[in-house]
């Protein structure tokens, strides 16, 4: 619950930063904050009370076969949101790199990182 609320707060902070800041680098930082907030929300949705990581090693199963499987199932968190976040983090990294290279390209063109300088670039 606390994770969910803080995730939504991070989303709002990120959108606020993207809308109000003038510096392109700060806009990208706002995007990163938004990204992190979304990851927190997805992870919070998948949490199960008293659950642990969904890795069924022998400490969780106690026997190396699937005899005690139903007991293990009741003790892990939902694995699907974790799998989604796992890929989303790497994609977020690549998208941030793409945004930064846009910023580098703009800075080479206009010698400035202020978004207002590029107002005539709309098309």
């Amino acid at each position: 619950m606390i994770m969910l609320v803080s995730g939504f707060l991070l989303v709002l902070i990120g959108i606020w930063a993207m809308l109000t800041r003038k510096n392109i680098i700060r806009i990208i930082i706002g995007f990163s904050i938004l990204d992190t907030g979304i990851h927190l929300i997805i992870v919070a949705v998948g949490f199960v009370k008293g659950g642990t990581a969904p890795i069924l090693d022998n400490a969780l199963l106690r026997v190396p076969t699937s005899v005690d499987l139903s007991a293990a199932v009741s003790r892990v968190v939902d694995p699907l949101p974790s799998a989604l976040v796992l890929t989303a983090i790497v994609i977020g990294l690549a998208v941030t790199a793409l945004l930064l290279s846009f910023a580098i390209r703009l800075h080479k063109y206009g010698r400035s990182l202020d978004i207002d300088v590029y107002e005539e670039q709309k098309w």
């Binding site: 009370k49 694995p79 799998a83 998208v95 790199a97 290279s101």
Partner: protein, 232 residues
């Protein structure tokens, strides 16, 4: 001024939209049916202890194929935007003595750890994406330490495209060997013993190719950012 009021209204509206999602949410006491299906299926069908890995590679394998494509597109975009002009040398300085010695010692270990993480993705926390990022961080350490550090672009491109092709070939092998509903099925290889390295069918193989692909792509991103990022 009017702009800030509009932004404030937009944020309040968004918070008002998100509030019902938070208010009515309560942490569940037990897994929903599809999640417990995944957990028990990962043990009984795939012989893989790490349920997250079996979801990423098998149950949602098609999604992962799409994510790899997104990653490739982002990398291609970075490479396209930061094309290297001939003759322009960046003004970066070499790293300090400490950084250079430390990188020479640590970078091979970090890359080896990355390989360990993606080959053991089905047994322990980790997998192709994390191992690939670890390899790329080793490359980042080398790039930071020395301006003369270069690696072969041909090697990176070959690694990336060959592992992508191998991933798709393994996926299609499932269709050929096991039938039409088995795209990306890892059971084309024997399932092996519980908690051993060569178990869970083709999951370690697929994850190793994924790790190589992600590592090569992110290394290419770091290389183009470092070559073109400095001030002229």
């Amino acid at each position: 001024m009017i702009k800030y009021i509009l932004i404030f209204i937009a944020l309040v509206g968004l918070a008002w939209l998100l509030w019902p999602l938070t208010k009515d949410f309560s942490t569940p006491e037990q897994l929903n049916s599809i999640a417990s299906q995944y957990v028990s299926g990962s043990v009984t069908d795939l012989n893989s202890p790490n349920v997250v890995t079996s979801i990423v590679v098998t149950y949602r394998g098609l999604d992962t194929l799409g994510e790899v494509t997104v990653l490739f597109l982002a990398t291609a975009g970075v490479g396209f935007l930061l094309k290297k002009k001939s003759g322009s040398r960046s003004q970066r300085r070499d790293g300090s003595e400490i950084l250079q010695s430390g990188a020479g010692f640590l970078a091979p270990l970090i890359m080896l750890f990355g390989v360990y993480v993606f080959t053991h993705g089905h047994l322990s926390p980790g997998g192709g994406f994390q191992g690939g990022v670890l390899i790329a961080s080793g490359v980042l350490l080398m790039v930071m330490a020395s301006t003369s550090f270069r690696f072969s672009h041909l090697l990176i491109q070959l690694t990336e495209s060959l592992s992508g092709i191998a991933y798709v070939i393994i996926a299609i092998l499932g269709v050929i060997l096991l039938g039409a509903n088995h795209f990306l099925d890892p059971r084309i290889l024997p399932l092996g013993n519980w908690l051993s390295l060569f178990s869970a069918g083709a999951i370690p193989v697929i994850y190793s190719f994924l790790g190589l692909k992600v590592g090569a792509e992110l290394s290419a991103v770091i290389e183009s950012l470092s070559a073109d990022g400095g001030e002229e």
